[in-house]
Chain length 195, copies 2
């Protein structure tokens, strides 16, 4: 039977991006500094207990509305549609988007039985109908599923008279043509702009 | 003010080997799967509360004696001296050492005010005096402090009539002479054996 140390290493190894060696290192760090362990326990518990989904955009929040939806200074006529709450987190760190968000909670994936009804697409359509929306920027990932979801949303929303755009796909800044795959290069040519 | 999500990311980032991006990924994983978060909380709490140091070898254990010290089938006449409990964990995975262990809890480091009295060296001397010890294998890390600690222990124990040995330092298996530093190459020559 495993003791509590072995079990802790197992649990830590099950977290994304943590291998067995890192898990061991973290486990011994927590045992050597039990106060850090208590801080971690409190942080996980309070995050799990206090965070819930914003009823408007489905991002995580502690309040009735998330800080972005509640912020009157943001541009509420432009909604950026993303797959997961972490995408909001990442985009907010760039400060690039001044509008609000809508988190789908995944992408369409028929093979995994994820259809439109499993995502927050119905609520997006309701927002477009209810609020004065000018543009929907679809920022799902440039994967097969992300593209399919973007196209589905565009077909659904365009008849409602809203502009639907897609973030550009191309060679990443600092990237290398040599290392780019064919599809990315094709998208980079498609999206070229006059200098 | 940061919300509980920001705080969780901060706490996770403070763990060894976890950068900001990994911390974000783990935090969102725990929020998306709150049951995994609860399992993590329980594992950290039970490890912190149930594990303590073995009074004989100072490895972590849940019992009065650690499973290695309590195991009558192990060779109790050979003690492997290591810096930290994780070293026992690593060595046990190789199955190389059939004796018992003694965890120092660190290395001699005058600059950090770590003298012999801060480590479990006195208890090691007592074990050598009390038990029938044939050999002490010093497996501290091959750093300046690890070597100094090994030499200190050897000077202390040799007068007691016990054999004190040091694990070999050399080119790691699968390693490359080209990448080895001068000191390692020097040790590899010193420790050469006839073929």
């Amino acid at each position: 039977m495993k003791d509590s140390l072995g079990r802790l290493v197992d649990v830590l190894t099950s977290l994304p991006g943590i291998g067995r060696k890192s898990a061991q290192r973290i486990a011994f760090h927590l045992l050597k500094n039990p106060d850090n362990g208590k801080v971690l326990v409190a942080a996980v518990e309070s995050a799990i207990n206090q965070l819930h989904l914003c009823p408007l955009c489905f991002n995580f929040t502690e309040d009735a509305l998330c800080p972005i939806c509640a912020d009157k200074k943001r541009d509420h006529s432009t909604i950026c549609v993303v797959e997961e709450p972490q995408d909001v987190f990442v985009l907010e760190q760039t400060g690039e988007h001044r509008g609000t968000y809508h988190v789908l909670g995944g992408v369409l994936s028929p093979l995994d039985n994820v259809g439109p009804e499993s995502l927050h697409i119905k609520e997006l359509v309701e927002r477009v109908r209810r609020e004065k929306i000018v543009e929907i920027i679809v920022a799902t990932n440039p994967t097969v599923e992300g593209e399919a979801t973007a196209n589905y949303i565009a077909q659904l929303l365009k008849p409602l008279g809203v502009r639907v755009s897609r973030i550009a796909r191309g060679i990443p800044v600092g990237g290398d043509l040599e290392l780019a795959d064919r599809e990315t290069i094709s998208r980079a040519f498609e999206g070229r702009r006059e200098l």
